[in-house]
Amino acid sequence: MASLTPRRRRATDWTNALFVLPYLIVFVAMIVVPLAWGMWLSTTKSDLFGTEGFVGLTNFVRLFGDPIFLQTVWNTFYFVLLTVPLLAVLGLALALVLNRQARWAAVLRTIFFASTVLSVTVVTLVWRLVFLPDSGLLSVVTRALGGTPIAFLNDETLAMPAIAITTIWWCIGLPMVLFLAALQQVPRALYEAAALDNASRWRTLTRITLPAIRRTFALVIIIEVILQFQLFGQPQLMTLGGPNNATRPIVLFIYETGWRQWELGYASAAAQVLFAMILIAAMVQYWLSSRREAR
């Protein structure tokens, strides 16, 4: 724009940045700097009380030769695959049905949100009681129905799905609320037009609602990917990563190496790998959604 005097324009622009500045300061102080610190740590041999020396990429080489770590990577991915799509879809479904002023909807919304308020300790405790084959709720029901109770948490193949169910029960509130907020932004007139266009519920959903909230859909997926990649408390408290490491996620690995084994450098390296994985997953998702938007 030739007509714009450059000096003036820059002055305006810099003041615009004032809006993001407060956040950026905190962001740099609490994320960028610590992340860089962590990256540096990952190239050292350290514990919490000091650094013994620089070791280059040794920690990373060790990680990729560590079968336990590799297993945690797979476990984490598996868990994300189990939970994220379900959380997004169920959250959306709940939001769609409960997006109305009626009293019953408010009550149901509260019910679906209520589990979110519990801390991970309580959630896992309750679900352990549910899954317990000996006297748990499921086993009581199964026996009443004449079946043999299944030891979900002691079964290598069922433990992770059981943790996934627990997690979905626990976390469904957030995606629901996010979708609810997004649905508020869809102009009512569009639904009216669609109703007159005789659009079925399904088509209204796919052609009106989803396009209108697709940014939130991407947001929910990204957020959930990020959250679920950081799975920690549930397996720590429900299975201790077992049986046979089947539910050990990366963060538990990081925790154990860092805080229990005092191998801070090694734990930092694992944290960097986790960061890279989340980054890639989130970016792929972001890229997919923004590409769709561009079209």
Partner: protein, 274 residues
């Protein structure tokens, strides 16, 4: 609106789901009214009388709980307020204003989303040790303020507001801050409420950071405080007490949620016009 009626199948499914959702919740509640000894012998005794208030009495008998609740409230509310302010400002900046390096900065903030707590927590701990900030509310709140989620959410939300509303305000001579504050912010109330709930919740339930930052028991938050009162085998020997603690810890969030939820669904639709 007539055509908004809920499909009976959907309604049935959702009611069933709600019941399933509630079973464990009721269980928690029921357990909290059982004597620990009875539960130790058999957790299924929860289904039968007698019930007792003993666990709650024990809970409040320990006067510390109130201090921890205060701490948790201060930290959670402080963090919620901070996050709402910072995220709204930044979200508006990223969504509506132009400044050099905007898109690069936004992408960097987005990358920040991917940073797991584990990758930064040690460095944060050491940084705050350097400035001797541990065992202060500031140290408990500060890391939570940096979460990029709020910025991301608010940016998305601001972007979805029709631009001609800004334009009208521009012509009304409103400053950028005024447009933000008076015109757009009221339209983001559903997102504010969502973010508020989310932030409060994660602050309230956060365990790991307060555990290592607030090591003085005067500064314990409720989660850390409650955990500290537990014996090694609390889940066996004090199951009812544990559940009473869970109920106590969960109630404030539920109240916060109930307060916010009406703003999520009742707010003015962001899009102008009927």
């Amino acid at each position: 609106m007539r055509f908004g009626r809920t499909h009976p199948v959907a309604l049935t499914l959702i009611v069933i789901a709600a019941v399933l959702m509630m079973v464990p919740l009721f269980w928690v509640l029921a357990l909290s009214f059982k004597a620990n000894a009875a539960l130790m012998a058999d957790t299924n005794s929860v289904f039968s009388l007698p019930y007792t208030l003993a666990n709650y009495r024990t809970l409040f008998g320990d006067g510390q709980v109130f201090r921890w609740i205060m701490n948790s409230l201060i930290v959670s509310l402080g963090m919620t307020a901070g996050v709402l302010i910072l995220s709204s400002l930044a979200g508006y900046g990223f969504a509506r204003l132009d400044f050099p390096g905007r898109s690069v900065l936004f992408v960097i903030v987005l990358l920040g989303l991917a940073v797991p707590e584990q990758a930064v927590i040690i460095a944060r701990h050491q940084m705050l040790s350097l400035v001797s900030m541990h065992n202060t509310y500031g140290a408990l709140i500060l890391p939570g303020l940096s979460a990029p989620f709020g910025v991301f959410l608010m940016t998305q939300y601001f972007r979805a507001i029709p631009r001609d509303i800004d334009e009208a305000a521009l012509l009304d001579g409103a400053s950028r801050f005024k447009i933000f504050w008076k015109v757009l912010l009221p339209l983001t109330i559903p997102a504010q409420a969502t973010l508020g709930i989310f932030t409060f919740l994660s602050a309230w339930n956060d365990y790991w950071w307060p555990l290592i930052s607030a090591t003085n028991k005067q500064m314990f938050t409720l989660t850390v405080g409650i955990a500290s009162t537990q014996m090694n085998f609390a889940q066996t020997e004090g199951l009812g007490f544990l559940m009473a603690q869970a109920v106590l810890a969960g109630l404030p969030i539920l109240i916060v949620y109930l307060f916010f939820q009406k703003y999520i669904v009742q707010a003015v639709a962001g899009a102008a016009g009927r």
